[in-house]
C-alpha cells in the first residue's frame, strides 16, 4: 500500500494483488480519470483489476469530484497513486500533468492506457490491444471497440473520423447493434480517449493533448497530430470496452469549462479541423464551416431553440475572431501536416455521408421518430423511450432506408396517393397554364397577385374600389414557396389536393385515432372521395383547399375541449387561423363550423369552462381577419353558397338526383358513379350495431346528417354568380365532404372492434374480414375509376389565353376589351369587360358594383350587337373600350353586324375569336389620385398585424431545454423502460422531449 508508483524499479501493487505484467519489454501504465463518476467507477475498477493481462502501473486522477470518486480511487490504488486536481481541470491537462510527474520507463516500451471513470474494459481488452500493437508496426495509438454501458449490445464507436466541418462521424448507423459487422483491425483517423492505448514516447514527442481543447475533440486533435507525425492510429475491435458517455450525454454537467457544452463542442470541432488541414483545404473548410454555421443557426431559430442558435453562432464567432489562436495552433502543427494529408484525407468522412445523414434525418422525421442524428454517439438511447417495442425486437428489424421509409403507413399512403394522382392526371402533365371549368387560366407571378390584393382600385370590369378577395393573398403566400410561380402553386393545390388531403387527414387525426391502419383507410378514403375528384375535374380551387383543411378542423376540434386552458386556447387560435383560410376560399365552411362549434360549446360548456372562450376565439378570428370582404359578401347572400372561381351552369348538375346526394356525390363533371361510396356508408352503418362507444357513433352520424341536410339545401338553390351570369344551383361539395368526414371518423374510431372480432370465433372472423373488404371497396373503386377515366372534365393544361395575342400586344394600359361569347346552347350572348390583358387569379372574383353604369354599358353593347346605329361605339369608348372580341362559337351574322359598324375595324377573324379595334380614341376613366392609403391601407396593416399576433399565439411554445438538463438524474430511457408502455398523451410529451434532446447536441 505504501509503494509509490513513481519509482520504476518497484513494481506496482494494489490491494487487489495483481501480479505485474508478463513481458518485461512492454510496460503498461493505466491512468483512470474520475470526475463525479462514482456511479460507474466501481465497475471500471473491477474491470481493470480483472484484466487478463494486468497493468503494470496505475494512476488514479481525481478532478475535484464531490461524490466520493476520489475515495474510491484511493481505496483501489492506494492514496499514493491518486492525484487530485482542481475541479476545473480538463481531461487532457490532468493526464498531461500526471505524466509529467511520472518518469518514463527506462527499459522497453511504455504504453499509457487512458480510462474514463465510466469506461469499463473487457477482460481481454488490454491483451488484445497489446497484441495488435506488437503485430502492427508503426502503431502508436490504439483504441478498443466501444459499446454502450447499459445496453451491452449497442455499438457506440469503432474509430472516429470527422468531416470538414468538424462533425464527428463514427460511420455507424444510429442504434446499431454489434454483430461483428465492423470487426477487424483498421486504420482510423482517431479513437476515443476512453480506453486509448498510447505509446509513451509518441505522447512525449507529440506533446499530449492540447490544453486549449479542454473537453471535446481533444482526442481527435491528438490523433491527427499523431498521424501527421507519421505514426498510425488503429482501432482494435477484438478489444471491447463499455462506455457510458456520461459527459457527452450531459448526465453530469461539465465543470471544466463554463461555456455551454454545445458551444464548446462546436468551437472545438471547427478549431481542430481548421488547424489540422493544409492551407487550401483549410480555406475551403473555413468557408464551409461558416456557411454551415449560419444555416444551422437559422434552422435553430426557426425551430424555436434560440439557445442552440446562440451556441452555434458564438462558436463560429469564437473561432473566426481569434485568428492568432488559429495561427499559433497551425504553426505548432506544421510538421508533417501536408505530407500526410493524402492519407488523412482518405480517412475523413466520405462526401456522401452528409447526404446519407440528411436522408436519415428526413425519413426519421417523416416516419415520426423525431430527427435522429447518426454520428452514433449521443442520441440513440433517447429515442428508444418511445417506440415501446420489446427489447430485442430491434435486432430483427432491418435498418435499410427503403424498409424504414415504407414501414411507415403515412409515407406509404403519400406515395400511393401521389401515384394515383399522377396516373389519373396524366393528360394534365407537362402542359402550360392550368385552366378550365371554374378556374381562369393562371397567369402572372406572386408579385402580381400581391399587387392586386394591396391596390385599392382594381382595373377589372368597369373599374371598382371593392376589396380584393383574401384568398389571393393565401395563394401568393403558397406561391412564395415555389419561388413565386403561381401556376405551380395552383397546380399543386388543385391537382395535388388529393394526396395533400390524404396526408392532412392522416396527420391531423393522429391524436384522435391511434391505430395506424384505421388512419390509413380514413385518409385514403377521404382523399379519393367523389368530392375531391369532382373538384379537380372542374377546376374548383376553393373546394380543393377546403378539402385539405377540413381534417385540420376535425383534428383541432377536440383540442378545444382539452383540459389545459393554455392548450385549448392555443388550439383555438390555430383553428381560427385555419378557418380564416378556409372561409376565404369557401365561405360556407364558416357557417358549417360555426354551427358545430356552437353545438359543441353548448353540449360541453358545463364540463369544460374554457370551451366558451375557445369557441368565441375560433369564430371571431376569421370574422375579423376577413371583415371587409365578408361585408361585401353579406350584401349578396347567394354568394355565401359559392366558392372562389367562376360559377357556371355546365359545372353543376341542375337536377341532382336524390341518390347522388345520399351517396355523397355532388354532381358535375369527372365523378365516379354514385354507388362508389356504398362501402363507406355500409361501414358507418355497421358501426351503429356496436354496443360500446355509442356517443361517438351518435355524434358522427349527427355531423353526417347535418352535412347532408346542408348539401340538399345548397344544391337546390339557384344562385347567380358574382358580377352577373347564368343562374345555376350551387355545388354541394363542402357539406358532402363534411358528411363524409363524420362517417369516416366514426368508422375509424370504432375500427378497433374489428381486431377484437378477429380473435373471436370463425363466424366473427368472417364478419370482420367482410367488413374490411367492404370498407376498402370505396377507396379502391374510387381510385380505380379515377385512374382509368383520368381527369375527365373541363380542366385542361393547354388552355389558350382568353384574349387573342393581337389584343394583348396592342392594348395600351387603360384600354378595355369588350368580350362577347354566345351562351352555350342558345342564341343569347354573354359579355364581360377585361383590362386589355388576361385576368389574374382572383381578379374576376372582385365585385364590380355600380348599377347605373352597368345599365348604360349594357344598352350600348346591345346596340352595338344589333347594329342599331353609329353612336353606341362612342358610348363604349367613353367607358374606355378599345377592342371588341367575339369568341367562339362565332356566328357569321354577328360578324356581319360588327363589320358594319363604321368605327370598328376588323383585325382578325379566326376559328377561336374575331377581334375589332375601335377607331375612336377611348377616354380612359380619370386616373384616381393615389392618396396613398386612407382606410384601405390602414386596414391592410391591421390585418397583417392581427395575422402575426394570431400566428404567434397559435404556435407551440419552444420546448424548454430546462426540462432535461437535470444533473445527476437517472437516464430518461431507463425510466421509460421501467414504466412500461406509456399512455398516449404522455408518450406524446415524452416524444417531444426526446426529439428536443435529439435536436440539440
Amino acid at each position: 500500500m505504501s509503494s509509490t508508483v513513481f519509482s520504476s524499479s518497484s513494481p506496482a501493487r494494489s490491494i487487489f494483488g495483481i501480479t505485474p505484467g508478463s513481458a518485461p519489454r512492454l510496460l503498461v501504465t493505466a491512468i483512470v480519470v474520475a470526475h463525479d463518476g462514482a456511479r460507474w467507477l466501481g465497475d471500471t475498477l473491477r474491470a481493470l483489476s480483472a484484466q487478463s493481462r494486468a497493468v503494470d502501473r496505475v494512476i488514479g486522477i481525481d478532478n475535484g469530484s464531490r461524490d466520493g470518486s476520489g475515495t474510491l480511487l484511493a481505496e483501489a490504488f492506494g492514496p499514493a497513486s491518486v492525484l487530485t486536481y482542481p475541479r476545473s481541470t480538463g481531461f487532457g491537462s490532468a493526464v498531461a500533468q500526471a505524466l509529467r510527474k511520472l518518469p518514463a520507463a527506462t527499459a522497453g516500451q511504455e504504453w499509457i492506457w487512458l480510462l474514463h471513470d465510466d469506461c469499463a474494459p473487457d477482460q481481454h481488452a488490454l491483451r488484445e490491444l497489446l497484441r495488435a500493437a506488437s503485430d502492427e508496426p508503426g502503431a502508436a495509438v490504439l483504441g478498443p471497440k466501444l459499446r454502450d454501458h447499459l445496453d451491452r449490445g449497442l455499438l457506440l464507436e469503432a474509430g472516429v473520423t470527422v468531416n470538414r466541418t468538424g462533425r464527428r462521424d463514427t460511420g455507424l448507423e444510429p442504434r446499431e447493434y454489434d454483430q461483428g459487422q465492423h470487426d477487424g483491425l483498421r486504420d482510423v483517423l482517431s479513437v476515443s480517449t476512453a480506453g486509448m492505448l498510447v505509446r509513451r514516447d509518441v505522447w512525449d514527442e507529440i506533446g499530449g493533448f492540447d490544453p486549449g481543447l479542454p473537453l471535446f475533440r481533444d482526442d481527435l486533435d491528438f490523433c491527427w497530430r499523431v498521424r501527421n507525425a507519421g505514426h498510425r492510429v488503429i482501432t482494435v475491435t477484438d478489444a471491447v470496452a463499455w462506455h457510458a458517455e456520461a459527459s457527452a450525454r450531459r448526465r453530469r454537467p461539465p465543470a471544466a469549462s463554463d461555456h455551454h457544452p454545445r458551444r464548446l463542442d462546436r468551437r472545438n470541432a471547427m478549431f481542430v479541423v481548421v488547424v489540422n488541414l493544409p492551407f487550401l483545404a483549410m480555406l475551403r473548410a473555413l468557408v464551409r464551416n461558416s456557411l454551415g454555421s449560419v444555416v444551422r443557426t437559422a434552422v435553430f431559430l426557426l425551430a424555436k431553440q434560440p439557445a442552440s442558435a446562440l451556441d452555434e453562432i458564438s462558436a463560429l464567432g469564437s473561432v473566426l475572431l481569434h485568428p492568432m489562436r488559429i495561427r499559433r495552433g497551425r504553426r505548432r502543427r506544421r510538421a508533417g501536416r501536408k505530407e500526410h494529408y493524402p492519407e488523412v484525407k482518405h480517412l475523413l468522412t466520405p462526401p456522401g455521408a452528409g447526404w446519407r445523414r440528411f436522408a436519415d434525418m428526413v425519413q426519421a422525421f417523416v416516419s415520426g421518430e423525431g430527427p435522429v442524428d447518426s454520428p452514433g454517439r449521443h442520441h440513440a438511447g433517447a429515442v428508444r423511450a418511445v417506440t415501446g417495442e420489446e427489447p430485442g425486437e430491434e435486432l430483427l428489424a432491418d435498418s435499410g432506408v427503403f424498409r424504414r421509409t415504407f414501414a411507415s403507413a403515412g409515407v406509404l399512403l403519400t406515395f400511393l396517393l401521389v401515384a394515383v394522382t399522377l396516373i389519373a392526371a396524366r393528360h394534365l402533365l407537362g402542359g402550360g397554364a392550368l385552366g378550365g371549368g371554374a378556374l381562369v387560366p393562371v397567369v402572372g407571378s406572386a408579385a402580381d397577385l400581391w399587387r392586386v390584393y394591396i391596390e385599392d382600385h382594381h382595373d377589372i370590369g368597369l373599374g371598382t374600389d371593392a376589396w380584393a378577395p383574401p384568398y389571393i393573398a393565401v395563394v401568393a403566400g403558397v406561391a412564395a414557396l415555389f419561388f413565386g410561380e403561381v401556376q405551380t402553386a395552383v397546380a399543386v393545390l388543385l391537382v395535388g389536393c388529393v394526396p395533400l388531403a390524404g396526408v392532412s387527414a392522416y396527420l391531423a387525426t393522429r391524436a384522435l385515432v391511434p391505430s395506424r391502419y384505421a388512419r390509413f383507410w380514413l385518409a385514403a378514403t377521404y382523399a379519393l372521395l367523389p368530392v375531391g375528384t369532382g373538384a379537380v375535374a372542374a377546376g374548383r380551387l376553393g373546394t380543393a383547399v377546403v378539402l385539405i383543411l377540413l381534417p385540420v378542423y376535425v383534428g383541432l376540434g377536440p383540442a378545444l375541449l382539452a383540459r389545459d386552458r393554455r392548450r385549448s386556447r392555443r388550439a383555438a387560435w390555430g383553428f381560427g387561423l385555419a378557418l380564416a383560410v378556409g372561409t376565404a376560399f369557401v365561405p360556407l365552411v364558416y357557417a358549417l363550423v360555426a354551427v358545430l362549434c356552437v353545438l359543441a360549446a353548448v353540449a360541453f360548456g358545463g364540463v369544460r369552462p374554457a370551451v366558451g372562450e375557445a369557441v368565441s376565439i375560433v369564430l371571431i378570428v376569421p370574422a375579423v381577419l376577413l371583415l371587409p370582404w365578408l361585408i361585401d359578401l353579406v350584401e349578396q347572400p347567394g354568394r355565401f353558397l359559392l366558392e372562389v372561381g367562376l360559377h357556371r351552369a355546365d359545372l353543376v348538375a341542375p337536377r341532382l338526383p336524390a341518390e347522388s346526394l345520399v351517396g355523397l356525390s355532388p354532381g358535375g363533371p369527372g365523378l365516379p358513379p354514385w354507388w362508389v361510396t356504398a362501402g363507406l356508408i355500409a361501414s358507418a352503418l355497421a358501426a351503429l350495431l356496436m354496443r360500446r362507444q355509442r356517443m361517438i357513433v351518435a355524434i358522427g352520424w349527427g355531423v353526417t346528417l347535418f352535412g347532408l341536410l346542408v348539401a340538399i339545401l345548397v344544391s337546390r338553390v339557384n344562385v347567380v354568380g358574382l358580377n352577373g351570369g347564368v343562374p345555376a344551383p350551387a355545388w354541394p361539395g363542402v357539406p358532402l365532404a363534411l358528411a363524409a368526414m363524420g362517417m369516416l371518423m366514426l368508422a375509424a374510431l370504432t375500427s378497433h372492434r374489428i381486431t377484437e372480432l378477429r380473435r373471436a370465433g370463425k363466424l366473427r372472423k368472417i364478419a370482420a374480414f367482410l367488413t374490411v373488404v367492404v370498407a376498402y371497396s370505396t377507396p379502391l373503386l374510387a381510385a380505380g375509376y379515377w385512374m382509368v377515366k383520368g381527369v375527365t372534365g373541363p380542366l385542361r393544361s393547354d388552355m389558350p389565353a382568353p384574349l387573342p395575342p393581337v389584343v394583348t400586344s396592342e392594348a395600351a394600359p387603360g384600354d378595355r376589351v369588350l368580350m362577347i361569347r354566345p351562351a352555350q346552347g342558345s342564341a343569347a350572348l354573354t359579355y364581360t369587360v377585361l383590362p386589355g390583358r388576361a385576368p389574374l387569379l382572383g381578379e374576376l372574383d372582385v365585385p364590380v358594383p355600380g348599377r347605373g353604369e352597368h345599365d348604360r354599358f349594357l344598352w350600348a353593347a346591345s346596340g352595338l350587337l344589333a347594329g342599331r346605329g353609329d353612336h353606341d361605339m362612342a358610348t363604349l369608348a367613353a367607358f374606355g373600350v378599345r377592342f371588341v372580341v367575339l369568341a367562339a362559337p362565332i356566328d357569321p351574322a354577328t360578324v356581319r353586324v360588327l363589320d358594319a359598324q363604321p368605327t370598328l375595324v376588323r383585325k382578325t377573324l379566326g376559328a377561336d375569336a374575331a377581334v375589332w379595334r375601335s377607331l375612336l380614341q377611348p377616354h380612359p376613366p380619370p386616373a384616381r389620385p393615389d392618396d396613398g392609403g386612407g382606410p384601405h391601407r390602414w386596414w391592410l396593416w391591421g390585418q397583417g398585424a392581427l395575422l402575426v399576433v394570431a400566428l404567434v399565439l397559435a404556435a407551440p411554445g419552444a420546448r424548454g431545454e430546462r426540462e432535461s438538463l437535470v444533473p445527476g438524474s437517472e437516464a430518461p430511457h431507463a425510466a421509460a423502460a421501467d414504466a412500461g408502455p406509456p399512455p398516449l398523451r404522455a408518450a406524446g410529451r415524452r416524444r417531444r422531449a426526446g426529439r428536443a434532446k435529439a435536436i440539440r447536441r
Binding site: 346528417l705 343562374p727 349594357l858 375595324v905
Partner: protein, 491 residues
C-alpha cells in the same frame, strides 16, 4: 329515448329513418326541369334603330323620295324598349361633299318627301333619333333615247358587303357607283363572276374611297365580254354604298340592279312581274364548288317545278342562266331555288311592246320586321303592284299607305295562303297626289313573307317597268339578349 339509444338496433333504425327522410326531401325538391341555366336568360328584343345613312345616285333632274314611316301595329318580337333621349332627331337631305344648308329637312313621321332634284352629285340622306328609320328611293323615267325606260331603285345604305346580279357588259352598259359617306377612308374590292367563271383583271380591282368620295366605274373595263355577271363589293376599313345601273344594248331598257341576298343554300327571288316577255333566271355560285340547283316557281297556283327545267347546273365561280318564260305562265310570282352550296340568284324580266323595258330583281330576305317602299305612283297610266309570296306557312301582313300630304291610310290586313303568291294592286286614288309610300308589316305569328313592288308605266312608248324587291325596313332591329357574366372568359 334512452332505451331506444341503448337498444342495439335502435340507433341504426333511427339513422336509417333519418337517411330515408333526407332522400325523400332531396327527391321531392328535385326540380322538374332545368329552371335556371341558359333557359333563364331573357330573349331577344326589338329596338328602334338609332341612325341611318343612305346614298341616292346623282339625280340630275330625276325624282328622289324619302319617307320615315310611322310604326304600324305591334312589334313583332318582344316589346320595343323605350328610346333614351338621344338629342336632335330629324332627316337631312344633302349633297355629297357640300357644306352649307341641306336640300331638305324632314321632321315628321309619315310624310313622303318627293322631289325632282337637279344636282349632279349623289345625295346623302341622314336620319337620326326618332326619325332614323327612313326609306329613300330614286326613280327615273325616260321616254326616249338610249336610256329609255323606267328605272327605280332603293337608295343604298353603306354596308360591308354588297351582292348584285344581272346582265354583263356584253349585253348592257353596266356602271357601278361606289360612295363613301363615312368619315374614314374605305377600300372597296370588286369581285366579278361571269358566265365563264371568276374574272381576274390585270390589276386587283381595288378602289380607295376617301370620306365623301364617289366613284363611277364602268364594269366593262375589267369584264368586257361577260354576258351575265354577279358582282361582290367588299369594303374594308369602313362601309361602302354600292349601286349598279344596267343600260341594255339595243334599246332594250334600263334598270338598277337591286342588292341581292348574300349567298345561301335557299334563295327566294320575289317580285317577278306577270305578263308576257322573257323571264331569265340567273344563278351564281361563288366559291370553289359547282352545284346543281333545283328551281321552282311560286305563283298563285302554288309551288311547282317547271317541267323540263327543274334542275340547273351551275359551274363553280360562275353564273348560269335559265329561261323561265313559260314556267310562270303570265302570272306574277316568285322563284324558289335550293342548292347544296350557297348561291346568289336574280331574274331579268323583259317587258312587252314594240319598245321594250327591262326590270331586274334579285334574291331577297323575308320581311320579318317590316318593309317600306318609298315611291309608288298611280297617276295616269302608272300603276304599282305588290307581289307577296309565302313559300312556307301562311303569311299575314298589314299594308298602310302614306301619302305626300295628309294622314296615312288605315292599315289593311292581307292574307297570303301558304305556298302561294298574292298580287295586290296598290290603290288608285283619284285626285290625290299620287306618289305615296307603302308600309308592309307582318303580323305576329305570320310565316316568312317575301315580296316585291312592281312599278309600271303603260305610256305611249310602250310598257316600262321596274321591280324593287322588298327589303327589311330600317326602323327596327333585333337585339340578341346580352347578359354580363364573368364566365365569358372561358370557352
Amino acid at each position: 329515448m334512452k332505451s331506444l339509444v341503448e337498444n342495439r338496433f335502435g340507433l341504426l333504425a333511427l339513422v336509417l329513418v333519418a337517411l330515408l327522410a333526407m332522400y325523400g326531401v332531396a327527391y321531392v325538391t328535385r326540380p322538374a326541369h332545368t329552371a335556371g341555366g341558359v333557359a333563364a336568360l331573357p330573349p331577344s328584343t326589338q329596338v328602334p334603330v338609332d341612325t341611318v345613312t343612305t346614298v341616292c345616285p346623282a339625280p340630275s333632274g330625276e325624282t328622289v323620295s324619302v319617307v320615315v314611316p310611322v310604326a304600324v301595329g305591334e312589334a313583332v318580337v318582344g316589346s320595343p324598349t323605350t328610346i333614351p333621349a338621344q338629342g336632335v332627331s330629324g332627316v337631312t337631305v344633302a349633297e355629297f361633299r357640300k357644306e352649307g344648308d341641306p336640300l331638305a329637312i324632314l321632321d315628321r313621321h309619315g310624310q313622303v318627301w318627293h322631289e325632282a332634284v337637279e344636282t349632279d352629285a349623289p345625295l346623302k340622306i341622314f336620319g337620326t333619333g326618332e326619325m332614323a328609320g327612313l326609306e329613300s328611293a330614286y326613280t327615273s323615267i325616260e321616254t326616249k333615247g338610249k336610256r329609255r325606260g323606267l328605272s327605280a331603285t332603293r337608295c343604298a345604305d353603306p354596308v360591308p358587303t354588297t351582292w348584285m346580279i344581272g346582265p354583263g357588259p356584253a349585253a348592257a352598259a353596266v356602271t357601278l357607283h361606289l360612295s363613301n359617306p363615312g368619315t374614314t377612308p374605305v377600300t372597296a374590292e370588286i369581285l366579278v363572276y361571269s358566265g365563264e367563271g371568276p374574272v381576274y383583271g390585270e390589276t386587283d380591282n381595288v378602289v380607295t374611297l376617301q370620306p365623301g368620295e364617289n366613284h363611277r366605274i364602268d364594269v366593262a373595263e375589267f369584264a368586257p365580254s361577260a354576258l351575265v355577271l354577279a358582282l361582290e363589293v367588299r369594303a374594308s376599313g369602313g362601309r361602302v354604298a354600292a349601286m349598279a345601273e344596267a343600260v341594255l344594248h339595243k334599246n332594250r331598257g334600263v334598270d338598277w340592279m337591286p342588292h341581292a341576298a348574300a349567298p345561301a343554300t335557299r334563295v327566294v327571288v320575289p317580285g317577278v312581274p306577270g305578263g308576257g316577255g322573257g323571264r331569265e333566271l340567273l344563278v351564281a355560285a361563288p366559291g370553289q364548288s359547282a352545284t346543281q340547283v333545283e328551281v321552282k316557281t311560286l305563283t298563285e297556283d302554288g309551288l311547282q317545278a317547271v317541267s323540263g327545267r327543274e334542275v340547273l347546273d351551275v359551274p363553280a365561280g360562275s353564273v348560269a342562266t335559265m329561261e323561265l318564260s313559260g314556267g310562270l305562265g303570265t302570272k306574277p310570282g316568285a322563284v324558289v331555288i335550293t342548292s347544296r352550296v350557297p348561291v346568289v340568284a336574280g331574274v331579268v324580266a323583259a317587258g312587252t311592246g314594240s319598245k321594250k323595258d327591262t326590270a331586274l330583281t334579285a334574291g331577297a330576305l323575308p320581311i320579318d320586321l317590316g318593309s317600306v317602299v318609298a315611291d309608288n305612283r298611280t297617276e295616269g297610266k302608272q300603276s304599282s303592284h305588290l307581289v307577296l309570296s309565302a313559300p312556307q306557312t301562311e303569311g299575314r301582313v298589314l299594308l298602310q299607305m302614306a301619302p305626300r300630304e295628309g294622314a296615312p291610310s288605315d292599315p289593311v290586313e292581307v292574307r297570303i295562303p301558304a305556298a302561294r303568291t298574292v298580287n295586290i294592286e296598290l290603290p288608285h286614288e283619284k285626285g290625290a297626289s299620287s306618289p305615296f309610300a307603302v308600309v308592309v308589316t307582318p303580323l305576329s305569328g305570320s310565316g316568312p313573307v317575301y315580296g316585291g313592288r312592281i312599278l309600271e308605266d303603260r305610256g305611249a312608248a310602250g310598257l316600262m317597268l321596274s321591280v324593287q324587291p322588298l327589303a327589311a325596313a330600317r326602323s327596327w332591329t333585333l337585339v340578341p339578349s346580352l347578359t354580363e357574366s364573368t364566365a365569358t372568359v372561358m370557352p
